[in-house]
Subunit: 205 residues, 2 copies
């Protein structure tokens, strides 16, 4: 089942990094490949040698971020408590909120266009693998009575908090709050400390 996912080449990394910056400024849908190639300083031939089209580049961006997350998971395994672990995960997601917003935007676009390029499928597979690995680490901190679903719920909750935090900056309704991102981040982290003792007992009708 496991896919062999090659590490990106130096030039691929460089194109991905410049493109992320340009996409963050202009928005991915408003950036043409021609503009991108011009701004990154690579030649058209160099670009198309490594990327089929814009969606392939999107997938490369997701994949690179996913590989970063993979290397973080090893650190997360060493965390002594669930709250520290969830904190790590939240901070990874929101440490660069403009980039996180870009990642979500291109993920939704690739998802909606039913993209099937190799890099996208690789990203999906790696993403699934990381969710499994991460929830396994979460589960190791939960009481024995907890099941896999509970570990998933923690993952989804933190992801939802990060995603929600990120969307707060999308409209001006939360302008005041987002201005003090650091204070709100501190509040979220304190919230996480309290979250780790959720009563997981199943009950009710």
């Amino acid at each position: 089942m496991a896919r062999i996912i090659h590490e990106p080449s130096a030039i691929e990394r460089a194109v991905v990094q410049s493109s992320v910056k340009i996409f963050m400024i202009n928005g991915p849908s408003r950036t043409s490949i021609a503009h991108l190639i011009k701004s990154t300083g690579f030649s058209k031939a160099q670009f198309y040698k490594h990327f089929e089209n814009k969606q392939d580049l999107y997938a490369a961006i997701l994949l690179e971020n996913e590989q970063d997350f993979g290397s973080r998971i090893s650190d997360m395994r060493k965390r002594e408590s669930l709250s520290k672990l969830l904190e790590d995960f939240l901070l990874f997601r929101i440490e660069d909120i403009e980039k996180f917003r870009l990642l979500i935007e291109i993920e939704v676009e690739l998802d909606e266009s039913n993209n099937r390029c190799e890099r996208y499928l690789n990203w999906k597979a790696l993403n699934q693998q990381h969710i499994s690995e991460f929830t396994e680490v979460v589960a190791s901190h939960l009481p024995l009575s907890a099941d896999r679903e509970d570990a998933y719920a923690y993952y989804a909750l933190v992801w939802a908090m990060a995603r929600g935090f990120c969307s707060i900056a999308e409209t001006d309704r939360f302008y005041n709050l987002v201005q003090d991102r650091r204070a709100f981040t501190q509040f979220l982290l304190k919230a996480l400390q309290n979250l780790t003792s959720i009563n997981l007992e199943k009950g009710g009708s």
Copy 2:
């Protein structure tokens, strides 16, 4: 400063309600006014008597939902604890997640288009007023040492959780979780119970 916001007429309510259903199925950007008028069973003349254009209708949808929220706030005032209060707010937001997603989509669109129609400005004013009222109720449950910012943070946190939960359904990465929305909702509610004792002491550098 207070705006006088009229209650919508019966026909406005009816158009709003039918449009919400159609937008939820087709997506607002893919639904033409012609299609909308045809599906709602109103005449073109009736529609344009009440709504200037599609954005005006969007604003009417936001406004109606905001007025619903206004009537909920009175109930929330009676809540005996902060956790019950936050629960009410979360449930209001996620009880119809497809509708919530629609509301966010049209809010972002109106925001980005710099819309200045009367209904939109009315909605913005009412929204601000509700945020004030809601955070006032939150503040009444917080320790005396807490300030207004802390009450805002609780509001934003619950809003972020709702928004994040909603976005989980946007891509298929959380398909398994979202299938069991009821279980995840229960988990979120339990999480909220734990959130209400966040240590609000300011500290650190």
